[in-house]
Amino acid sequence: MTYLHSIGEYFIMIKDAFVKPTKGKVLRDLIFKEVDDLIIGSLGIVAFISFFVGGVVAIQTALNLNNPLLPKSLIGFAARQSVILEFAPTFISVIMAGKVGSFITSSIGTMRVTEQIDALEVMGINSINYLVFPKIVAMMIYPFVIGIAMFLGIIGAYTAAVYGGFAPSEAFLSGMQEDFKPFQVFYAFFKTYLFAFLLATIPAYHGYFMKGGALEVGKASTSSFVWTAVAIIIVNFIVTQLLLS
C-alpha cells in the first residue's frame, strides 16, 4: 500500500509541476540556474568517464578476439554499438542518478527541513512548480550530454584501440561504419529523454516529500538514487523491447 501511495503521490506531484506557474521571468532565471547546476556541472565527470570507459570497451573487445578469423574491424563495430546503444544513454544515466539525483534530493530536502518550502507555500507560490518544473525543463537538454558521452566514448575507444596497438586506424574506422542503422541513434536519444524526465522527477519527489531532519535528507538521497536507477533500468528494458526486438 505504501508503494501505491508513493506512486500516486509522485504522479500528482508531476501534475502539480505544470499548474499554477511561477512568473515567467523568475522561471526563466530558475531554468538557467538549473541548466548550470545539472547539465554544465555534469559535463566534466561525464567526459572523463565516457573517454575511459570507451577505451576499456575497445581493449576488452580486442583482448577477447582470440580467433584470427575475426576481423580487427570488429573492435570498432563493438565499441560503436555498446557506446551508442547502452553505455552512453543507460550507464551514464545511472551515474547521473547518483550525481544529479542526489543533488536534487538533498537540495530540495534541505529546503523542506529548513521550512523554505513552507515559506514558498505561505507566500502563495506553487512550490512544486517553482522547484520541480525548472529541473524538468533543464533536463530536456540532457540528451546533449549523452551526445557528448557518445562522441567521447568512441574517441576513447579509437585512442585505446589504435594507439594501444590493438587495431589499425582504417580497420577501426571501417568497423565503426559497418552496418550502421540511424534508427539506433534515434532509439538511444528517445530513451535518453525518458531517463532525463526520471532523473529530474524521482529525486525531486524524494526530496519534496521527505520528513525529518538532516539524517533523513541523507537517507532520502540514497533511496532516490536506488529508485531512479531501478526506474531507468526498467524503462530501458521496456523501451528496448518495444523499439528494437
Binding site: K20, T22, K23, E115, D118, A119, E121, M123, G124
Partner: protein, 256 residues
C-alpha cells in the same frame, strides 16, 4: 482582524484542535502560548491555510478563508508575512535578494525599485552591512531580522511569527520582540506570534491565548496572566524559577 470560529483539526484518530473560537485584533501583538504538543503550531498552520480545518472557520477581515477559491486564497496569502522558527531564508540568495523575493514574485517593480524598497525595510530592521551576504554568513539574530524584513517588505496586512526568538540570547530576543511590536503598531497589521517564551509574554503580550491539549484554556493580556486563578496557566507561567521568584517577591510585598 482575524476571527477563529469553532476550529477543529485532527490527524487520523488524533484531534489536535478541539473546537474553540477567538479573535485577533489589528494593531496588537497576539500571542499563542502553551506547552509543547498543545496544538500551537497546528493552529498557526491552520490559520495560514497550510492545514485544512476539519470544521470551523478562519475569517480574515470578514472573509472566510474556506469560501475563497484557489486564486483568491493565493491573493490573500500575498497579504500575509510569515517569520519562521528557523527563519527559512533561501540559502542560495543574498540577504537583499531574500528580502526582495516577494516583490519579485508578486509585483511589477523594476529591479532598481525592488532594491530600493528592500533597503527601506533593511534600514527599518536595523540590518547593517549585510545586503550582499548569504544567510549562512550572518548570525541567528540577523537572520531573524532578515526574516522579519522579508515578511513586511510587501506591506502585509497579517504577520505570523512562529517562535521568533527561539535560539536567541535574551538580549537579542527582547530586541526582536520589540521590533515586531513596533512594526505591528507602525504598519497597523494583525500580528500573531506563536511562542512559549514568558519574556515575550511580559514584553509584548497585548492579547494572549493559552492553548492546552487542543482547547483554548485561557485568554487575556500580559497584566491579567499573572493574576489569573486558572491553575494550568499559573503552572505554565511559573514553571520558570525566575518567574517563581518574581511571584514570591510580589506576594511577600503584598502581605507587608
Amino acid at each position: 482582524m482575524i476571527e477563529v470560529k469553532e476550529i477543529r483539526k485532527g490527524f487520523g484518530d488524533v484531534e489536535v484542535l478541539k473546537g474553540f473560537s477567538t479573535t485577533f485584533q489589528k494593531g496588537q501583538t497576539n500571542l499563542i502560548i502553551g506547552q509543547s504538543g498543545s496544538g500551537k503550531t497546528v493552529f498557526l498552520k491552520t490559520m495560514l491555510g497550510l492545514h485544512k480545518p476539519d470544521s470551523g472557520q478562519i475569517i480574515y477581515d470578514g472573509t472566510p478563508y474556506s469560501n475563497l477559491d484557489e486564486e483568491d486564497q493565493r491573493d490573500l496569502r500575498e497579504q500575509i508575512g510569515m517569520v519562521f522558527q528557523g527563519s527559512a531564508l533561501f540559502d542560495s540568495m543574498t540577504v537583499e535578494e531574500n528580502i526582495a523575493f516577494p516583490l519579485k514574485m508578486f509585483t511589477k517593480m523594476k529591479k532598481s525599485e525592488r532594491i530600493e524598497r528592500a533597503n527601506v525595510v533593511i534600514d527599518r530592521v536595523n540590518l547593517e552591512n549585510a545586503n550582499h551576504k548569504l544567510p549562512s554568513e550572518i548570525s541567528g539574530g540577523m537572520q531573524k531580522r532578515v526574516a522579519i524584513a522579508r515578511a513586511i517588505v510587501n506591506n502585509p496586512k497579517y504577520l505570523f511569527c512562529d517562535e521568533p526568538n527561539s535560539g536567541l540570547d535574551p538580549n537579542t530576543a527582547t530586541i526582536i520582540d520589540n521590533l515586531i511590536r513596533e512594526i505591528t503598531i507602525e504598519y497597523d497589521i494583525t500580528t500573531i506570534i506563536n511562542t512559549h517564551d514568558m519574556n515575550s509574554v511580559m514584553e509584548i503580550g497585548d492579547h494572549i491565548v493559552y492553548l492546552q491539549k487542543g482547547h483554548l484554556a485561557w485568554e487575556g493580556d500580559k497584566t491579567q496572566i499573572f493574576k489569573t486563578d486558572n491553575e494550568d496557566v499559573t503552572n505554565f507561567v511559573y514553571s520558570s524559577n525566575l518567574f517563581k521568584m518574581v511571584r514570591e517577591a510580589q506576594l511577600s510585598k503584598n502581605s507587608i
